[in-house]
Subunit: 170 residues, 2 copies
């Protein structure tokens, strides 16, 4: 159901990249409801305290998953966006580095955290998000993404953290 | 319940502004679940086809509201972020202008659309979002926000569109 709704956008956001546009999936009520349920499914009995979503498309999927799991939501954002005290993790891009931040009081020691994003590519952002959770004493129960770009081997960057993906492109 | 969890951040994002930080509400599972239900409540029987969320904090609230209402989700984003063909609306800021975009195929003629954002301030962004929906032939069934800054009179900018807010600061 999902694959026929995912739209390939060539040369976005930059030349040579084929972007997987999931907005037609989100706009379709049946697909959207199914997507949220399926992303949450393996974690229904995992006693998740917080779902951490990665800015900005990760937010879209993380909050309904949190609502379905009866968990709280914690935003993981690009630097300078969060208003209170944060901790920060840098990560490598193909060219250069980027960084993510989380509020220091967003995660409490012992919290069981599910990390949610739209796409797992090289795994750099998900791994940085995991490090943020660990530094605050949280336990990363898993990573749930809609799309896994299998050819980029991001799964390996997660060091054994359970990864759940609904659509895999090899 | 909500007010004691909303945190005032002075001088964010710029000097002289007191930012209402809702992240402690989102992180609290009971408050978060209640918030989503209450934002959706008046629209449960309104046959909403799409919930349109305004980047980026509007996304956080719009998708669980869409899930609860059994509706699809449409992102309204800052210029250059959406990958497919868009339409654009400019709106006034205190100093200068900003703009919002939506995918041209995000709304179909006749769609009943609920617009969701975190905060209603002057109403400029919500009004611009409404214009985008109208230009695509959609019907704006209402605007649902968590916080209304009543002293900025944003309600007036909505021209009679039903506004639902959970917390009002006068």
């Amino acid at each position: 159901m999902y694959r026929r709704l995912i739209r390939d956008i060539p040369d976005f956001p930059e030349p040579g990249v084929v972007f997987k546009d999931i907005t037609p999936v989100l706009a379709n009520r049946a697909a959207f409801t199914a997507l949220v349920d399926e992303m949450a499914e393996p974690f229904r009995n995992a006693q998740i305290d917080k779902v951490a979503g990665i800015e900005a498309r990760g937010f879209i999927l993380a909050t309904p998953v949190a609502d379905v799991l009866g968990a709280g939501f914690v935003p993981i954002r690009k630097p300078g966006k969060l208003p209170a005290e944060v901790i920060r993790e840098d990560y490598e891009l193909e060219y250069g580095t980027d960084a993510l931040e989380v509020h220091r009081d967003g995660i409490q020691a012992g919290d069981r955290v599910l990390i949610v994003d739209d796409v797992l590519a090289t795994g750099g952002t998900a791994a940085a998000a995991s490090r943020l959770v660990h530094r605050l004493g949280g336990d990363v129960a898993g990573v749930s993404v809609f799309i896994e770009l299998g050819f980029l081997a991001g799964r390996r960057a997660l060091d054994g953290t359970p990864l759940h993906s609904l659509v895999v492109y090899d």
